[in-house]
Amino acid sequence: MKLLRRLPRIVWAFARDYKLGAVGGALVLLFLAVALLAPQLAPYDPDTISLRESLAGPSPRHLLGQDNQGRDLLSRIIFGARMSLYISMSAIGMGALFGVVLGMLAAYYRRLDMPIMRLMDVVLAFPGIIVALTTIAILGRSVNNVVIAIGIYHIPQFARLVHGLTLSIKETIFVEGAVASGESDCSILTRYILPNCLAPIIVQTSLLIPGAIMTAATLSFLGLGVPPPTAEWGSMLQNSLQWAQMAPHVMIMPGLALMLAVFGFNVLGDELRDAMDPRLKKR
């Protein structure tokens, strides 16, 4: 509401003070726009095969060239962006949603602390890719199962962050004051604790998205991600391996897209952390 009206000013101030963050933000926005407008932006259908033009290099008609089946790389990368962002953002959203709720409950109600946080530790004990592989193996291959597979691994990351924050916010005088003025547990959690955790949660979100993009690509690369022929950066890379020597652009183009997206989110997250942590603030 009020925050929304102030948002343009906040964004401008951030871009002015954190140049690199602004570059990251611009990249993120670019990828978001590409993902949203994929059908309008892509010059060709990403799945149309043209075997005669197999592995053709960049040309005026196909700016980034064509893959082994003659599909337009630019269009596939554009639709791949859509897939990558959809998967990573939904997965992180799912992780954040469950993680924040679980973390707050665990920290606020001592009785829940042990069971919830130890369960989180169990999930954290495995490398993310193993958790994702196992989940896919159980659920089967589909876009939404990839989201779930990656999301599950991110629940503890948020739970631990919010757990720690809640423990310290819970002890502040304003929370004690809120209890003393008769606020219910529910409103203390949502109006006092959650808003004060928000900045670190936002930072964590933007820092974890690149990891999720990579994990999604890795899953596809290993053949356990989004099923073909759907355009996805990871599976494009996997597919390109056999032709890497003959037609390196088939590998370089999606790799470049992946790198830029990850770079954009990482830099944005890094600089957001600096901007939102009062101790690191430049002023």
């Binding site: 809120a178 003025s181 606020e183 409103s187 109006r191 808003p195």
Partner: protein, 325 residues
């Protein structure tokens, strides 16, 4: 006179790994309607824990182990959690020591006070807002319309403490517990806030429990005083008798260690020794190893509470035989 709030034999103990700390040990006092009672004592004597016990805000490892807290003839310790929650903030309000950390930093101050009203009463946001503006005027905040929309960090300590007072008063509480409300403020602002508290008592008729370690604050504000030492109340009296003729050796020692303007003394008289560890209290009277008048019996039994003059009670063996400190 029927007291509005009566604390009877309250015991709040903390169960730490090193042992049981009896932070509040058999404390009784009462607070009449419209009265300002000062609860004084040094750090760690249990005055804050007493106030938190009344609000039932004592957290683990602390626990109220015995006693009664009668508020309008109902025992607060017997109320269901939900009933207690409804009393907090509406009938029993509290002001804390640190105004700067007593408000949620992410919301505007005005909306937080309005929230305090909306928790307890079914009124529209607009009506709540109107009331907050009036309260802000009452506690002397200039330009309430603008201040309403400001965040806690935009306030000075004194102004924020005024807001806290306004918040505490939001639902017309009958008991206001002020836990060191002016300790974090500078002296001129202290005087303003104390005047404000007194004025509000006169205007709203609320009873106030003022917790402090500052005898000057007590002299300025209170009608009656209870002096605490290591979890026990050692002396209770009306303001003037206590200041003119303190009876308990601890109270006497306290006054002797305060510099006075009208006398020139080379050295102030400190109370000898240090406060014993609350984990390892001396048997009998807790003050005896620092007391200049200690008797053999002090080591054997807890001193009884004696009424040495009407309304003037002292927990000390010295007065059993009618002696003087």
């Amino acid at each position: 006179m029927g007291a509005l709030l009566e604390v009877r034999n309250l015991r709040t103990h903390f169960f730490s790994r090193a042992g049981v700390v009896r932070a509040v040990d058999d404390v009784s006092f009462s607070l009449g309607r419209g009265e300002i009672l000062g609860l004084v004592g040094e750090s760690g004597c249990g005055k804050s824990v007493s106030s938190l016990s009344i609000m039932r805000l004592v957290d683990r490892p602390g626990r109220i182990v015995a006693g009664e807290i009668l508020f309008e003839e109902r025992d607060l310790l017997q109320l269901a959690k939900e009933e207690m929650r409804r009393l907090r903030g509406s009938r029993l309000a509290m002001i804390f020591q640190e105004p700067t950390s007593s408000m949620n930093p992410v919301f505007t101050t005005g909306s937080q006070i309005a929230e305090a009203i909306l928790v307890h009463e079914r009124v529209s946001r607009k009506a709540a807002r109107e009331r907050v503006l009036r309260l802000m005027q009452l506690v002397g905040i200039p330009d309430p319309e603008r201040r309403f929309r400001q965040f806690p960090h935009q306030f000075s300590g004194g102004m924020l403490q005024r807001m806290m007072v306004a918040m505490a008063l939001a639902c017309n509480p009958s008991v206001l517990i002020a836990d060191e409300p002016v300790t974090a403020l500078d002296v001129t602002i202290q005087a303003q806030i104390l005047d404000l508290i007194k004025e509000l008592r006169d205007r709203t008729g609320a009873s106030i429990l003022l917790i402090t370690h500052d005898m000057g604050v007590v002299a300025e504000t209170c009608d009656r005083v209870a002096v605490m030492y290591l979890g026990k109340i050692v002396e209770t009296a009306a303001l003037e008798p206590l200041f003119e003729a303190p009876r308990h050796p601890y109270t006497v020692g306290l006054f002797a260690s305060i510099p006075r303007l009208e006398e020139t003394v080379e050295w102030l008289q400190p109370i000898p020794g240090t406060v014993p560890s609350p984990l390892d209290l001396p048997a009998g009277c807790r003050f005896r190893n620092r007391c200049p008048h200690a008797l053999p019996i002090c080591a054997e039994a807890e001193p009884p509470t004696l009424e040495v003059a009407p309304g003037h009670r002292v927990a000390c063996f010295l007065y059993e035989a009618g002696g003087r400190a």
